[in-house]
């Protein structure tokens, strides 16, 4: 059973990302959307936690949400894939279910 986890809250304001990473099993896919995209940027206080997660889960970030917030692709932590809305749909279709962390 593969699961796509989505996180849409800022890691600095809510514990959604931490809770997601603590529960996502190895091989899961995690997509950062809306204010969740801030977790994908370099040099933040949560960067190490995110990099650590890359050892067991695949991380994605929604490009349009990055661009809306003035964050370019080169600010994204290496190893995290930037996807567009079509990529979001593909991820949702490829996984058995989608679990949202609000």
């Amino acid at each position: 059973m593969s699961t796509l986890h989505t996180v849409n809250k800022s890691p600095f304001e809510k514990t959604s990302l931490d809770a997601c990473l603590a529960h996502a099993t190895a091989g899961s896919n995690v997509l950062l959307i809306e204010d969740g995209v801030y977790a994908a940027t370099k040099g933040t206080a949560v960067e190490q936690r995110v990099k650590q997660a890359l050892d067991s889960v695949k991380l994605y970030v929604l490009g349009p949400d990055l661009v809306a917030r003035g964050l370019s692709d080169d600010r994204v932590i290496d190893g995290i894939s930037v996807v567009d809305y079509a990529g979001f749909v593909d991820l949702a279709a490829e996984n058995d279910k989608v679990q949202a962390w609000l």
Binding site: D35, G43, D65, V67, G70
Partner: protein, 136 residues
């Protein structure tokens, strides 16, 4: 009629777009600017994300209200405090933010910086000194 000038502080702690707080704050600041009060804006925690430059919301179908911050100087809003620690925790620096200015009519309309980077301690003092704090 003489009126007491109060120090108003608008405290911004939310990122833009994920919630409506940032936009609502901006609207209230602009409405409030019509009244002669001493206005300051504070950007703390995720609020610093409101001021990043290069925002382009075409891909998410929402209004990009970030250009409006550049108009604040025209509304005599010229004290914008950004907390240094909040920027650093988010991997940001002043260079990542819009360059906001106001024109000083007493100095041949010279453009002066509106944003002042302050420490957490300094921000605490700014909050302490305000007569009224509006939280967003």
């Amino acid at each position: 009629m003489s009126e007491t000038i109060k120090q108003f502080l608008y405290l911004n702690r939310k990122a833009p777009y994920g919630t409506i707080y940032a936009w609502e704050s901006l609207e209230v600041v602009l409405i409030g600017a019509a009244f002669d009060q001493d206005v300051s804006l504070a950007f703390v925690d995720d609020g610093v994300y409101q001021l990043t430059k290069g925002q382009d919301t075409a891909g998410i179908g929402m209004k990009n209200f970030s250009p409006t911050y550049a108009a604040l100087g025209d509304y005599e809003v010229k004290k914008i405090f950004v907390e240094k620690e909040s920027l650093e925790e988010r991997g940001l620096s002043l260079d990542d933010l819009q360059h906001l200015v106001w024109e000083d009519e007493d100095d041949d309309y010279a453009e002066k910086d509106s944003i002042k980077l302050v420490s957490r301690d300094e921000m605490a003092a700014i909050m302490d000194g305000a007569d009224v704090v509006f939280s967003f």
